[in-house]
């Protein structure tokens, strides 16, 4: 049968090329991919946590110094709010607070 019409030719080509898209059985392929995805996610979290810990170790000393300076300034405020005095005069609490504030930004940056 001749197929001189373009639509006929397209249909014929679809038929001829059909075997090129024959279905491929999964045979554990998807499970392998998902294992790799899970491993990758775990690896990513590990890298992120390690990077966070290293960053914390590096940042701790400068943050501590800032916290001590801030603590001295805030000590004056402590007299106004006696119930907050222990927080405002504790460099550890201030350093932790500073890192807590910066943490989301740092983690986003590390993730990117």
């Amino acid at each position: 049968m001749r197929s001189s019409l373009p639509e006929d030719e397209d249909r014929r080509l679809e038929m001829l090329f059909r075997p090129a898209a024959s279905p491929v059985a999964d045979d554990g392929f998807s499970a392998t991919v998902m294992r790799r995805v899970a491993r990758r996610a775990w690896h990513r979290r590990l890298v992120l946590a390690t990077a966070g810990a290293v960053g914390l170790a590096i940042a701790w000393q400068p943050v501590w110094n800032i916290a001590v300076l801030l603590g001295q300034q805030l000590a004056q405020l402590g007299s106004r709010w006696p119930e907050l005095a222990w927080v405002l005069q504790s460099p550890l609490a201030i350093a932790a607070g500073l890192l807590l504030i910066a943490a989301p930004g740092i983690f986003r940056w590390l993730e990117e």
Partner: protein
């Protein structure tokens, strides 16, 4: 309930839902693997590239904007991965070397026509150049539109059409010479 690809992508992106992504992998693995098998002519290599394709898709899922079909987006990643692998290992991944070797002698025209040609896809692909074959498989086997094929392969639509026209003409000349105006 059967979630659409777009719904699954949204779940995978917002909640990093691996189950949703797993469903996408199960849905599209056959299409991606058969496409890569045609490109590499080697099932094992094709499956390795297919795995890398899905891993990259997982990493870049947030960049799928929802324009066009998810399948076409995936095929584009698969093609990029194929090209990267192909460049790295040209010696092992020569496109259709085997096929070209097989057709050094032109096949005799079979008067019984279409059925024999359909049965021998390798012979059919053998008459086409690399790009014509890739474009024609995408459009006629994978069912992509010219626009989608253009996106997948990073070629202008006009180039896609040119490859298809050239491919058609080669097939006509080889297998249906009576239909070719250049016969």
């Amino acid at each position: 309930m059967h979630a659409s690809d777009e719904e699954l992508v949204a779940r995978a992106v917002t909640a990093r839902d691996q189950a949703a992504f797993g469903e996408l992998v199960r849905r599209h693995q056959s299409r991606v693997r058969s496409w890569l098998r045609q490109l590499t002519r080697n099932p094992a290599t094709a499956d390795d590239i297919a795995q890398d394709t899905f891993i990259k898709a997982w990493d870049k899922l947030h960049t799928f904007g929802g324009q066009g079909r998810f399948a076409a987006w995936l095929m584009k990643i698969a093609y990029t991965e194929f090209l990267m692998t192909h460049r790295k290992a040209k010696a092992e991944l020569r496109l259709a070397d085997a096929v070209e070797a097989e057709i050094t002698e032109p096949p005799a025209h079979d008067p019984s026509g279409e059925q024999n040609v359909a049965a021998d896809l390798e012979r059919l692909l053998g008459v086409l150049g690399d790009e014509e074959r890739i474009v024609m498989i995408l459009c006629y086997a994978q069912g992509q539109s010219h626009g989608e094929a253009s996106e997948t392969l990073g070629m202008p639509v006009g180039t896609i059409k040119s490859h298809i026209n050239r491919g058609k003409e080669k097939i006509r000349l080889r297998f249906f010479p009576e239909e070719s105006p250049h016969a």
